[in-house]
Symmetry: C2
Subunit: 894 residues, 2 copies
C-alpha cells in the first residue's frame, strides 16, 4: 500500500517530486528543529491517481484522518471543536512553482458552530467573524468557482452602508451580517450551502487544489514553460498561525544575505499585526527587518539564529517567510532565494572562500544568462539630474538611448540619416518590424514578456522595455505622457534600460561593463570583487569543460577579440560578408557576365581580395583551426531589389539606362519565390564551379603564404547546405583538384580538411553516408531550425512568434534555444550515425545556438566537440560548457 | 576457401549477384542443354576482393588455370598453341546492365606465334591477321588505356596508302603491316610491348574489367542510377566462335514473340557472314530472321526449338543473340526481353491463359509506368498525309500539337491570347521556364533525358521531345530546318509525340486512349485485347492490394471521375482552390478588413459558399471518406503581385486610386521573403481563428444537410503544416467547439475525425506526441520533400535539377519518386512512432508521390493505409499497390 500522506516530520527537501517544493522545504525545516507550524502533505502521487481515475486512491481518507488526528494532538485542538477549534490552511505546491495554479485556502475549519469558540480562543470576536467571512469568500471563489466579484460587491455594499472607507472599520456585528450575505451568495451561485463540516471543507479544498492542476491557466502555463503535464501537485495542510492578533504579532520576509550584492547582513521587511496577504496587498508600509530587534528582541534573535542555520544547511542564500503570533515565531516557508546576476557570482565565490561549497558546486550556482547580463553596457545613474520616469517589464536586455519616435516610418527615416531613435508604441505588430530594426530600442506601454515587441526584440538582440502602463502613448499626437506631468514629444531623447525595465528622460551615460573590460584585457582580475568572482569561475569552467568554444568571425579584428575572449578556433567564417560594400560591384560583374571569359575575369579579380581576407583571419588565429564556409546565399542577394528596380525602370520609361535594363533582366532571371530554398550553398558551388575554385584557391594560397612566413595556419573548408553525399563527393573532388594545383604551384602542402555544414534535415538523416566524404560536420542550427520547422526567421518572428509563445506552442523561440525534440533529434541522429561511419569525425555547431546556455548543455550531451558563437558570447559558452561538464560529466554518444 | 570461378555448367540464372546477368544466363542455357560456347565466369566476389585489397585473392590464379585447362580439353585446343590456338572473349557482366563500363575484349589468345596457326585452323590468312590487329586495337584501347584515335589514324593511313574505301579491301599482307604498326603504337603510348603471352593477355583483360567498375563513367552511371558502389562486376571467359567465316556462318538477334504487340511468331534479324559487332555497326543490312530458313534450315529449326525451350523455361518473352559458325549454331546471350507497354499487358495475360504463369506472377510482369503510357492520348497516324520529320528522344510522354515558337516571350504572349504553342529551342535554360509553362509541349535539338528541358518538362507533366539532332534550330530567324528540305517557321503547326519521340509536320489528330475510355466506363472490358488484359490485371491488383487508393480532388466532377477510376475516398480536398476566381474579391475583403466586424462579415459571406462546395464533394463521395484540408497558403497569395502593383501605383503617381494604395499597403504588410516558410497552414488558422471556425462550420453543416437528406457523408478535417502537438491541441479544441455548436444547432451529430498533414520534418520527428491529438496522419510528401531537402519546387527544378541529375546527385527528381533515405526515413519514423502512441492511427499520403509507382511500393512497405493521388493516377496506384501486395506481402510496421 503506497504512502500518500507525509507528516512534516517525515519528509525532507529532496522529496520535491513527491511533496512539491513548499511541502519538501517545510518538512526539511521541521526536521532541522525550526519552529514550523505542524502539518502534513498529501503527495503528488495521490493527485495523479485522482486526476487519472477521477477519485482519490483507496485509503487516502483514512491516512488523512490519522495525520489529522496526530496534528490535533500536537496542537491540543480539534478541527470543528466548537469550544477551541483547530484551523488549518490548505496550500498547493508542485515540484515547479506554478503561478497559474490555485494557491491557498486559509482558515479552513471555521463554521457557524465554532466561530464563537475561535472568538473565545483568541479573545477577539471581530477577528473571528472576519476570519470566517474570509474563509467563505476564498472557499467560494477558489473551491466552488464563484466569481469573486460577487463577494467584493457585497463587501463594498457593507462598507457603503456603514460609511466606512476600509474593511477595518467594519465591526464584529457588520462582519457577522456580511458572513450571512456571503453564505447566501454561495447558495445562489454554487447551488449548494457553504459546507459546515470542517473536514468536508478540508477535503473539498484538497480536491480543488488537485483540480487546479488542469485549470486553463495552469495548462497554458505548463505549455509555455514546457513543464510535463503529468507531474501533479501536492497539498500541504498546515495549522493556522496568526500574525494579526495585536502588536505582539506580525509577519515578515527576509533574505539570509543581500540578494542584490551578495553581502552578508540582515535583509528583510516586517509588518506588525498583519498576515502575509497584507504584505502582498501593500496596504500598510513594512519596516526594515532590523527594527524587529526593538519590537521583539527574543523573536529577532531567534530569527537571526534560524537564518544562520538555514544558510549553513542549504549552503546558499535563502529567502524565508515567517509569522510571529503573540510573541511566538513561526517559519512558514523557505527556499533558495533569487538574486541578481552580480550577487550570484559573488555569493558563489564567497561560499567557496567560507568553505561551504567547492568550486564545482560554485559553478552550478551561476549561469551563462547571468554572465550575459553582466556583459551588457549599463547606465551610470550615479550622476546628477538623472530622471527616471517609470519602471516596467525588462523584456530584452541592454541600455539604449535615442530620440523618441512614434511610428515605424519615422524610425526608418531618422535612422537612415544617422540618428539614434527609440521606437515608442502602445504595442507593436508585424508592421513595426522595419521600425524595430532601425531603432536602438523599443518601448511599449502594453504587453508582457511574451508580447510581440518583447519576443521580436529578444530575437533581434534589441533592447526592449514593455508593458509600461504608466505611460499614455498617443501615436497620433506623437507624444507620451508619464507620471508627474512629464510629456515626451517626438524627437525628445529618452534612455531605456532593458535589464532593469527603467525608463529615463534625457540621455543617461552608458558605461561599458567591467566584466567585458576584463575579458578584453583592459581590467585586471582583481579590479573589483565581481570581476574577481567571474575570473575565478571562468578559470574553473575552462578546467571542467569538455566542449571546445570557437567563434563565428569574418575578419581579423573580430578574430582577435574572439581570441581574447577565450575562443580556441573560428568555427565559421562567412565568406559572403566579404562580397559586400565596395566589392558588390565585382560580384555584380560576375553575375552579369555573359561569357565564360568575362565570368573568369570577375573571379580572377575577386581571388586576390579573398586571399587577403583569409590571410588576415588565419594570421589572427595562428595555430588554431579556422573553418571557412564557401559562399552560401543565392546570387540575387548581391543585386538590387526586384520591386525597387522595377519601379525605377518603369518610372524612367524610355530614359531607363541600358545598365539598369540589363540589371533588371538579371534580377528577373535570378529571382526566386523562396530564396531560402533556392539556388544557394553547395548548389551554387556545383552549378558555377568557378566560385568554388576561386575560394578554395584563395584559402590555399593564403595558407601557403603564411607557412612561408613561418606561421601555422589551420584552415578548413566547409561546404554549405549539403543534402546528399553525392554533393559532398563532387565538391570534394573539385576542391582537392584545386588544392593539389596550389600545392604544386606554391611548393607548400597545407593539410586542409574538407567538411560540411549539417543544416538541411536530409543531411542529418543521411549523415552516415555523408560522413564517408566529410572530415567534419558543423551543425548550422539556424537553417536546420528553419527547415525542420518550415519557417524562415525573416518572415515568422514578427508574424506569429508572439501569439505562439502566448498560446504555449513554444516555451521560447526555437531560434533562441535549440528545439531538442525536433532539431535536437536530428543533431543526435547525425552525430551518432556520422561517427559510426567515421569514428574520428569532428563535430561542432555554428548556429546562434552555440552561445545559448540551454543549447550548450544539449550540445554537450549530444557529444559534440565544440560550439561556435559570436565573440561576445564566447565567455557565456565557456561558462555553460564548464557547468555542463561538472553536472553531466560525459555525454550520450562518446 | 571460397570459390571464385564457376564453369558455365556450374551456375544458374539465380546467381546474378555472383556471376552477373550475362554469366548467370549463359550458365542457365548451358544447363538446359542449349549450345553455348564453353567458358567460365570469375565472380563478383573476386572483383570486390581485388578492388578492396589491390590484388586478386589467393588461389584465384590456380582456379582460373584449372577452369582454363578444362575449357581447353572441351574445345580440344590450347590457348597459345601455335598449331591450333584456342581464342576466347573476355566479357564484363555486372548484376545490373551498366553501359558506362568496359564491355568485351575479343580474340584473346592471338600472338605472333599462333596467328599462323589460326590461319591454318580456319583456312583463312586474311581473317587471322584481321583478328590479330583487332585484338591489339581493342586490348590497347580498353586494357592499356591508349586513345583509340591512334589506331584509327593508322588504319586510315593504311587504307589511304592502298587507295581502299573500306577495311575489307585490305588484304592479309596489308593487315600484317598494320599489325606491326599497331604494336609500335602500343609500345609508344603504353610504354610496354603488346603481351605475347596469351594467358597474360587474358589476366590483364580480367583486371581491366575489374578496374572498369571504378571508371569515371561507371561511377557517374551508378550515381545516376543509384546502383550500390560495392557490387563489383563478374568476368566471363568464353571460347570464341566466328560468324564471319563465310556464307555458312552468320549472326543474329531474335525475340521469342513480338515485343511490340506480344503476338507469338518469329521476330528477329539475321546477317550472313558477320560478327555481332557488324550488326551493331550497321555496315550491312540484316534480313528478317524468317529468311534463315532458306539459308540454313537445320540451324533455323534448331533455333526455333531453342526459342520455344527458352520461353517455356523463362516463362516470358526472351531476347537472344546467336552465331552460326560454319553451320553450327551457338547461343551467345539470352535475357528476358524488353517490350512495349501494350505488349507487357498482353503477354502477361496470354501467359496466364497458356497456363505458364498465374495471375500473381502476371501482375509482376506489368508496371504502373507501362499503364501510364497506355493512358496518354496518342496520335492517330493512320490517316493520309501524316508527315514525320524526325524521331528523337522521348523525354516526357504525351501528344502535343501547336504552333512552333522560338522564344519564351512569344510562347507566353501567344498562349495568353489562347493559342496552343510548342516551344522549340536548341536547349532550354532557366530563362525558358515561363515559356515552358505556357507551351503545350517542348522540342529541343540538343540534350538527352537528363537535359534541362527533359527534367523540367517531366516535372511539369508537359510533353517533351529532346535531342532532335536532325533539326537545325535558328532562334534568331525563328525557324528550324528538318531533313529533306523541310523548314518550319514561327507559327507553323507541328505535333510532337513525347511517348515515341516522333515529330510531325502539321496537326496530327489526337485520340483518347482506349484504356482511359474503359476506366471512364465508355468502353467495355472486352472492346479489345489490350483493354481486356488491363481489365483482368486491374481486378487482380485490387484483390491483392493492402493499400487503399484515394484521390486528390477539389470539386464534384473530379470526385465523380476519381470514383469511376476506382478511388475509395478523397484523401485531399484543397480548400484554397475554392477561394479563387470570382471569390477572390471576397478573400481580398477578408484580408483588407480593418475591424473584427468587417472580417467576420467577410467570413460570413464565405461560409455558405464553402458549405456548397463541401456538400457537392460529400455527395459525390457518399459513403466514402473525404479528407478536407483547412486553408493552407499564405494570405498574400490571394492579393496582386507586389512588384506589379508597385509599378502600377508608381506609374499612376497622384492618380493612383485609394483602393490600389490600400491594396499595396496590405501587400507590403503581408509580403514574405519566403512564403513557403511563412504565415500559412495551421499558423494562419491559429492567428486568424475565424478562418478555422468558418471552414469547420461549413464542413459540419454540409454534412448535417446531407444526413438529413438520407446520405452518409464521411468528412474528416485535416490541419495543415502542423509542427507541434500544441498546434494540434489548440486547433482541435477550437474545431471541436465549432462541431459541438453545429451539432446542437442542426440536431445532427456527424462523427468527424480530426487529423493532420505530416509535411514538416519536425512533425515527423515528434509524431509520437502529435498522435496524442491527431486521429489520422496524411503525409504531405511534396512539402515534406521541400523542407527535408531545403528546396522549393518553384525555384529549383528549373535552376539546377538538370545538372544535378546529370552529375548523379539525384537518380530521379525527389519530387517525382520519394527519396527513401531522407524523406522516406521521416515517413517511417512518423508511422512507427505515431502508431506506438495510437495503435489505430490511420496513415495515408496525399503528395504527388501517392501516384508514383516506385513510391507506392515504399508506402506499402512503410505500412500506410492508403495513398491518395490525382484521379488520373488512381489506376496506376491501384496496379502498383496490387503488385506490391503480391511481391512484398505484409509491411514493415504492421
Amino acid at each position: 500500500m503506497p504512502k500518500f500522506v507525509y507528516d512534516f516530520t517525515e519528509g525532507n527537501k529532496d522529496l520535491k517530486d513527491l511533496l512539491g517544493g513548499k511541502g519538501a522545504n517545510l518538512a526539511e525545516m521541521t526536521n532541522i528543529g525550526l519552529p514550523v507550524p505542524p502539518g502534513f502533505t498529501i503527495t503528488t502521487d495521490a493527485c495523479r491517481h485522482y486526476l487519472a481515475e477521477g477519485a482519490v486512491p483507496d485509503g487516502l481518507d483514512d491516512e488523512v484522518s490519522r495525520h489529522l488526528k496526530a496534528l490535533e494532538e500536537t496542537m491540543g485542538r480539534k478541527l470543528g471543536d466548537p469550544a477551541d477549534p483547530l484551523l488549518v490552511s490548505v496550500r498547493s505546491g508542485a515540484k515547479f512553482s506554478m503561478p497559474g495554479m490555485m494557491d491557498t485556502v486559509l482558515n479552513v475549519g471555521l463554521s457557524d458552530d465554532c466561530v464563537d469558540g475561535l472568538a473565545a480562543q483568541l479573545g477577539n470576536e471581530r477577528f473571528a467573524w472576519d476570519a470566517y467571512r474570509r474563509l467563505i469568500q476564498m472557499f467560494g471563489k477558489t473551491v466552488l468557482g464563484i466569481d469573486g466579484e460577487h463577494f467584493e460587491h457585497a463587501l463594498d455594499a457593507a462598507k457603503q452602508a456603514k460609511g466606512a472607507a476600509s474593511d477595518t472599520q467594519l465591526d464584529a456585528e457588520d462582519l457577522k451580517k456580511l458572513t450571512a450575505t456571503f453564505k447566501d451568495l454561495v447558495h445562489k451561485y454554487a447551488g449548494r450551502e457553504f459546507p459546515q463540516d470542517p473536514r468536508e471543507q478540508m477535503d473539498l479544498a484538497v480536491l480543488a487544489v488537485f483540480d487546479s492542476w488542469n485549470s486553463d491557466r495552469a495548462v497554458l502555463y505548463r505549455r509555455q514553460e514546457r513543464i510535463p503535464a503529468d507531474l501533479g501537485t501536492a497539498v500541504s495542510v498546515v495549522a493556522m498561525v496568526f500574525g494579526n492578533l495585536g502588536d505582539d504579532s506580525g509577519t515578515g520576509v527576509a533574505f539570509t544575505r543581500d540578494p542584490g550584492t551578495g553581502a552578508q547582513g540582515v535583509y528583510g521587511d516586517y509588518l506588525q499585526n498583519a498576515q502575509g496577504e497584507d504584505v502582498v496587498a501593500g496596504i500598510r508600509n513594512t519596516v526594515p527587518l532590523q527594527e524587529l530587534e526593538a519590537i521583539d528582541k527574543t523573536s529577532y534573535d531567534q530569527l537571526m539564529d534560524i537564518m544562520r542555520t538555514l544558510e549553513n544547511h542549504y549552503r546558499d542564500l535563502c529567502d524565508i517567510e515567517f509569522t510571529i503570533e503573540r510573541g511566538k515565531l513561526w517559519m512558514l516557508q523557505t527556499r533558495v532565494g533569487k538574486r541578481t546576476a552580480g550577487a550570484a557570482f559573488r555569493i558563489a565565490t564567497q561560499l567557496v572562500k567560507q568553505g561551504m561549497i567547492d568550486l564545482d558546486e560554485a559553478l552550478t550556482r551561476v549561469s551563462g544568462a547571468e554572465l550575459s547580463r553582466l556583459m551588457f553596457p549599463r547606465f551610470d545613474t550615479s550622476g546628477e539630474g538623472i530622471k527616471r520616469i517609470t519602471k516596467a517589464i525588462s523584456a530584452s536586455p541592454g541600455a539604449a538611448v535615442g530620440k523618441a519616435v512614434f511610428d515605424s516610418a519615422t524610425a526608418v527615416a531618422w535612422a537612415a540619416r544617422g540618428e539614434q531613435v527609440i521606437l515608442v508604441r502602445r504595442e507593436t505588430n508585424p508592421e513595426d518590424l522595419n521600425g524595430m530594426i532601425a531603432a536602438e530600442g523599443v518601448l511599449t506601454s502594453r504587453g508582457g514578456k511574451t508580447s510581440h515587441a518583447a519576443v521580436v526584440a529578444r530575437g533581434m538582440g534589441k533592447t526592449c522595455v514593455c508593458g509600461a502602463e504608466e505611460l499614455e502613448v498617443d501615436a497620433k499626437a506623437k507624444t507620451f505622457a508619464a507620471p508627474h506631468g512629464v510629456t515626451v514629444r517626438e524627437g525628445d531623447v529618452i534612455s531605456i534600460d532593458g535589464t532593469s525595465g527603467a525608463v529615463y528622460l534625457g540621455e543617461v551615460p552608458v558605461v561599458a561593463s567591467n566584466v567585458v573590460q576584463y575579458f578584453e584585457g583592459e581590467l585586471a582580475p582583481d579590479c573589483d570583487d565581481l570581476v574577481a568572482a567571474v575570473h575565478t569561475l571562468m578559470i574553473h569552467a575552462d578546467a571542467r569543460r569538455r566542449l571546445g568554444v570557437h567563434a563565428n568571425a569574418d575578419n581579423g579584428p573580430d578574430c582577435a577579440r574572439a581570441r581574447r575572449f577565450g575562443a580556441t578556433g573560428v568555427g565559421l567564417v562567412r565568406t559572403e560578408h566579404m562580397f559586400l560594400g565596395e566589392r558588390r560591384q565585382l560580384v555584380e560583374n560576375l553575375i552579369l557576365a555573359e561569357t565564360d571569359e568575362a565570368r573568369q575575369a570577375a573571379l580572377d579579380t575577386l581571388e586576390p581580395l579573398q586571399r587577403g581576407d583569409f590571410a588576415e583571419i588565419l594570421e589572427a588565429m595562428d595555430g588554431l583551426p579556422v573553418t571557412v564556409r564557401l559562399i552560401d546565399p543565392p546570387l540575387h542577394e548581391f543585386l538590387p531589389d526586384l520591386t525597387d528596380l522595377s519601379v525605377k525602370v518603369a518610372l524612367a520609361g524610355d530614359k531607363a539606362t541600358e545598365q539598369d535594363r540589363k540589371l533588371l533582366e538579371a534580377v528577373h532571371r535570378l529571382h526566386e519565390q523562396n530564396p531560402m530554398l533556392g539556388l544557394r550553398g553547395v548548389r551554387l558551388v556545383l552549378v558555377i564551379p568557378g566560385l568554388l575554385d576561386m575560394q578554395v584557391s584563395a584559402i590555399a594560397r593564403a595558407a601557403a603564404q603564411l607557412v612561408k612566413a613561418g606561421k601555422t595556419p589551420k584552415p578548413e573548408i566547409m561546404i554549405p547546405l549539403t543534402a546528399t553525399v553525392q554533393e559532398m563527393e563532387i565538391s570534394r573532388e573539385r576542391a582537392e583538384r584545386v588544392l593539389r594545383a596550389v600545392a604544386e604551384e606554391t611548393g607548400v602542402l597545407v593539410d586542409i580538411p574538407i567538411g560540411t555544414m549539417i543544416e538541411v534535415p536530409r543531411a542529418a538523416l543521411t549523415a552516415g553516408e555523408i560522413a564517408r566524404s566529410a572530415e567534419f560536420f558543423s551543425f548550422g542550427t539556424n537553417d536546420l531550425t528553419q527547415m525542420t520547422w518550415a519557417f524562415s526567421r525573416d518572415d515568422v518572428e514578427g508574424a506569429f512568434f508572439a501569439p505562439y509563445i502566448d498560446m504555449g506552442v513554444f516555451g521560447v523561440s526555437p531560434f533562441e534555444t535549440i528545439d531538442i525534440g525536433g532539431v535536437g533529434r536530428l543533431v543526435k541522429i547525425a552525430a551518432a550515425e556520422g561517427r559510426a561511419t567515421r569514428p574520428g569525425l569532428k563535430l561542432g555547431v555554428c548556429g546562434e545556438h552555440g552561445g545559448d546556455p540551454a543549447s550548450v548543455w544539449f550540445f554537450h550531451d549530444a557529444g559534440l566537440d565544440y560550439v561556435s558563437c559570436s565573440p561576445f558570447r564566447v565567455p557565456i559558452a565557456r561558462l555553460e560548457a564548464g557547468r555542463a561538464g561538472v553536472s553531466r560529466g560525459g555525454s550520450d554518444t562518446r
